[in-house]
């Protein structure tokens, strides 16, 4: 039995630590720990609810904008505001292109190097690489000369002795199984994706001034004025054309590079459809409204829960059944650490009880993470692309069903194969394809409104805080790239009196609960093979398949229970 720790887990957002016990070449138990804490909800207390989104957006800069959207929805829910149709569409567009861009970045820049040996690319034959690339896609950058130039670029890097980002990879690890030509193709697309991601997200700059952290939301709508006849309106026909062009670029890359690459890489690692199974429970809040948020039946991404891998039933969702444990988290509950609490009743008293740094290992029998352990109806849930794909599949959403069946047929796999490390990777690619197809529809709706003089972007009737009730509370949900995100806000005397966020990576990366039930990462890591405990590449594959985002996950503080006097401010 060997105890190993990976800290930092890299190519993620934030600071994640994994500890695992390895016996007989496989993981027998695992613990997931968030090692950074900021306390943003406490900082939000007493502030203007209309600007909460600007603060909350900074919970994460990788899944930028998702917390802004959840935040304005929470405040609007509290005040009973329905946003104008244009605001609904612009929000769908911003969130949609975010998901597309984020998933492509995840595959190439955060995940691919778990499957692709960069040094393998040096041994590739550029002509054969071109053959491989042309056999799976009609992407134009697939000539032998193109791949030769990329190979030369990698060679120059290696020859210089300065490997830059590739300095400390697990190169030559026996778990790398791609032929050199596939390595070279993937490296070429890694570089192309770097250029692509910065271009397509210029949509956020048009609609929000910048990315990351676009600055464009308003409680009650959006700050993006619309006018077909004004050159200085945020949205006019010229800007629509600019956005449409970016969507074309986005779709071409997804269809011709990303999706074919995922299928190609997955084809070389079929055994990874049997690793990383995880909890088997999947939860989706749903998003992409065609009308009011109060009518989830119109959502582009359907809401629901799949339990115990049973795709015959989609269970309804009741937010009252969400609760969080701190049994193994560095917080105290007044009612005892064995109890759980709904976000409205939640309390969080940060109380670090781990080893004093520097340390080698955590005491995982006790508390070991800054993440809480959220549970639905007392059960742990996986959220994210796989959950969304499964719920949509089980709900009979035609496009998702077609794509899932096509991918499974291509990989000669059964639906159970989706409950795996590569299942998450494939599901992410499938939902990216579905979303990139949808973007044009929302943009066309917006253009129609623009053409018909329907220009309202904001409902200002409740902009003045003097028009608000003395007390109000609400919640806002959003399907962020990494999964179901919820913000809860309570307002008193025009100020925030309580703010709570329960986020995707808390669901996935959280620790054990009072009943000893593992979180999603911890469950998925069990039985993961480990060829070399000194270089645990395989663990990274499974945990990266979730696309961890730890800055999002660790920030929960209940302001009502926190005593400021206990905090030593330097």
């Amino acid at each position: 039995m060997t105890r190993i720790a990976i800290d930092p887990v890299t190519r993620i957002e934030g600071h994640l630590r994994l500890e695992a016990e390895v016996d007989g070449g496989a993981v027998t138990d695992a613990w997931s720990s968030g090692t950074m804490f900021r306390g943003i909800e406490l900082i939000l207390r007493h502030r203007d609810p209309r600007e909460a989104w600007i603060w909350a957006q900074r919970i994460c800069g990788v899944c930028t904008t998702v917390h802004a959207l959840a935040s304005v929805r929470a405040v609007e829910d509290a005040l009973g505001i329905e946003v104008p149709d244009n605001a609904r569409l612009i929000r769908n567009l911003i969130a949609g292109i975010q998901q597309v861009q984020d998933h492509v970045i995840h595959f190439y820049h955060l995940h691919a190097l778990d499957w692709v040996d960069v040094t393998g690319a040096l041994k590739a034959d550029p002509a054969k690489t071109a053959q491989l690339a042309q056999s799976i896609s009609d992407w134009p950058n697939s000539s032998p000369g193109h791949f030769k130039a990329v190979q030369d670029r990698v060679k120059a890097l290696v020859d210089s002795g300065q490997l830059s980002l590739f300095t400390s990879g697990y190169w030559g690890h026996p778990a790398y199984q791609l032929p050199p030509e596939a390595d070279l193709m993937a490296v070429a697309h890694y570089i192309e994706a770097l250029d692509w991601q910065r271009d397509v997200i210029r949509v956020h700059a048009v609609l929000g001034g910048k990315n990351p952290h676009p600055q464009t939301y308003l409680v009650g709508g959006m700050a993006t004025s619309m006018d077909p006849n004004e050159p200085d309106a945020t949205i006019n026909l010229e800007r629509i054309a600019f956005i449409a062009e970016r969507f074309r670029t986005a779709r071409a890359f997804v269809e011709q590079v990303y999706v074919p690459d995922v299928l190609a890489v997955a084809g070389f690692y079929p055994e990874w459809f049997g690793v990383g199974e995880g909890l088997g429970n999947f939860m989706v809040y749903g998003d992409g409204p065609a009308g009011s948020l109060k009518n989830p039946s119109t959502f582009f991404i359907p809401r629901g829960i799949v339990l115990n891998r049973d795709l015959s039933t989609v269970n309804p969702l009741d937010q009252q059944k969400v609760a969080e444990y701190v049994t193994h988290s560095w917080y105290d509950y007044g009612s005892g650490d064995q109890s759980s609490k709904h976000p409205w009743q939640g309390e969080t008293n940060p109380r670090y009880s781990g080893p004093r740094p520097p340390y080698d290992f955590l005491n995982t029998d006790q508390k070991y993470s800054w993440l809480k352990a959220p549970r639905y109806d007392n059960q742990p849930m996986e959220v994210g692309p796989l959950a969304r794909t499964l719920v949509a599949y089980a709900s009979g959403k035609p496009r998702v069903k077609d794509l899932v069946d096509a991918v499974l047929a291509k990989l000669n796999a059964k639906p159970e194969a989706l409950f795996s490390t590569l299942g998450r990777v494939a599901a992410r690619a499938i939902e990216t394809q579905v979303m990139v197809e949808q973007l044009d529809n929302w943009l066309n709706e917006l253009t129609d409104n623009l053409g018909h003089g329907k220009l309202q972007v904001h409902d200002g009737r409740l902009w003045d805080p003097d028009s608000w009730p003395k007390q109000a509370e609400g919640f806002g949900w959003h399907e962020a790239p990494r999964g179901s995100l919820g913000h809860w806000v309570q307002i008193e005397d025009k100020k925030i009196s309580n703010y709570q966020a329960v986020v995707p990576s808390t669901w996935n990366a959280g620790p054990r609960d009072a009943n000893g039930q593992r979180g999603a990462y911890e469950a998925a890591l069990i039985k993961t093979p480990v060829a070399d405990p000194e270089r645990p590449l395989e663990l990274l594959r499974t945990v990266h398949s979730f696309d961890p985002c730890l800055a999002c996950a660790v920030h929960v503080v209940d302001p009502r229970k926190r005593k400021l006097a206990e905090v030593q401010v330097l």
Partner: protein, 396 residues
């Protein structure tokens, strides 16, 4: 200086980047630095001689927004930054390695390149409770920052959090967060404030360092004057509407559709310094005011507490003119804003934390101690040897 192993123009040539494009890049860098175009050949000459300095990028209490912003860099493209211009030997969010292997490799780079690499810090550093609010590899952020920054040629603090604690330091600052210059006093720091930093400016600082062998001229907060020396309001494309008395009165109204001034909607442009209107974001596509929302002064000191509530109108702006300098904005007016908002905002919490003795002194001159730059950051990395600085080279 750095170890040279291959030169930039050759590296670019090899992958088909023409000399013409390279010269264009040099011209763009010169413009970002606010140097007269006659300095373009000098920038070019410096880049031609330069090879790949090492960048070691550490993240602490961050959201990775500054990392993402760097990934959006267009001039130079981010692929060029990490493959040809620099050797980014450590960066938690995008490097290949992980765990002990990555930390060991970093130790080796620091040991073997002491005083020669550039440290980049993103995120604040928690000082409370012995630093348990942020650990990496079992070590505290403070421990890691000291090791990284004290051995560096210079440190670049990217974003508001690394500069002055940023959002994480927002009242009541639950984790005792501070910026790197306070956590590790005495190091050479360039503060690239902003939430996030604009990668165009970060690239320009690096190129300036390569060109002139010193950091660019800095203001009293250690921010480069070329990026933070001018008031947003004075560069704003909506300024003419302000002067003409044309204001947005309600979101989405006629004025909003015509691109009128956002001052009445809470825009902080008149008291903010940054170069957003000039360089734009995301390859110059836009910036927040152009896109229709007011400026939140995200590059101003402690803006989360001093510039909030964001939707309240700035006090005392009418009569404000172009003759006020950015330096005065940075100190006096920021303090005035904090005081004005403090009566009904969170800034009162910040002011309440002033040390009693200092507080009395600062009240008199109107500068909250919390807003003062704690160390003198105006010292260049090396003695200037007759090389021009952006200040004296600037067209009047």
């Amino acid at each position: 200086m750095f170890q040279f192993d291959t030169d930039l123009p050759s590296a670019l040539e090899r992958r088909g980047i023409s000399r013409r494009r390279f010269i264009g890049f040099c011209a763009a860098m010169t413009a970002t630095l606010a140097l007269p175009l006659r300095y373009a050949p000098r920038v070019q000459a410096a880049l031609e001689g330069a090879t790949r300095p090492i960048l070691l990028w550490r993240e602490f209490q961050d959201c990775a927004g500054n990392t993402e912003s760097m990934l959006r860099s267009s001039h130079p493209a981010i692929a060029d930054v990490v493959l040809e211009l620099f050797s980014m030997d450590y960066h938690e969010t995008i490097m290949a390695g992980a765990g002990k292997q990555a930390e060991d490799a970093l130790q080796k780079v620091i040991r073997e390149n002491k005083g020669q690499y550039i440290a980049v810090v993103e995120g604040s550093i928690p000082m409370a409770e012995g630093g348990v609010y942020c650990t990496i590899g079992g070590r505290t952020a403070l421990d890691l920052a000291k090791e990284l920054c004290t051995n560096a040629a210079a440190t670049i603090a990217v974003g508001a959090c690394a500069w002055d604690g940023g959002l994480v330091r927002g009242a009541p600052n639950p984790t005792g967060a501070v910026g790197v210059q306070e956590a590790v006093p005495g190091i050479k720091v360039v503060n690239l404030g902003g939430c996030p930093h604009n990668a165009a400016n970060t690239a320009a600082v690096l190129v300036h360092y390569l060109t002139f062998k010193e950091l660019p001229a800095l203001d009293e907060y250690g921010r480069p004057l070329f990026a933070y020396g001018d008031i947003i309001h004075d560069q704003c494309e909506r300024r003419a509407h302000y002067d003409a008395g044309q204001f947005v009165e309600e979101w989405g109204d006629e004025g909003h559709r015509k691109g009128w001034c956002l001052y009445k909607m809470g825009c902080k442009g008149p008291q903010a310094t940054y170069n957003c209107p000039r360089v734009g974001w995301n390859d110059g596509t836009s910036w927040p005011v152009k896109a229709g929302h007011g400026c939140i002064a995200c590059a101003s000191p402690r803006f989360w507490d001093t510039m909030t509530p964001f939707y309240n109108r700035l006090p005392g702006v009418p009569g404000f003119g172009v003759d006020v300098t950015a330096g005065e904005i940075g100190l006096g007016i920021t303090a005035a804003t904090a005081a004005a908002f403090g009566a009904h905002g969170v800034a009162s919490a910040v002011r309440a934390k002033l040390r009693p003795a200092d507080a009395a002194e600062k009240e008199r001159v109107g500068v909250p101690a919390e807003l003062e730059s704690p160390v003198d950051l105006s010292v260049p990395v090396q003695e200037a040897t007759g090389t021009p600085t952006p200040d004296d080279g600037r067209d009047a």
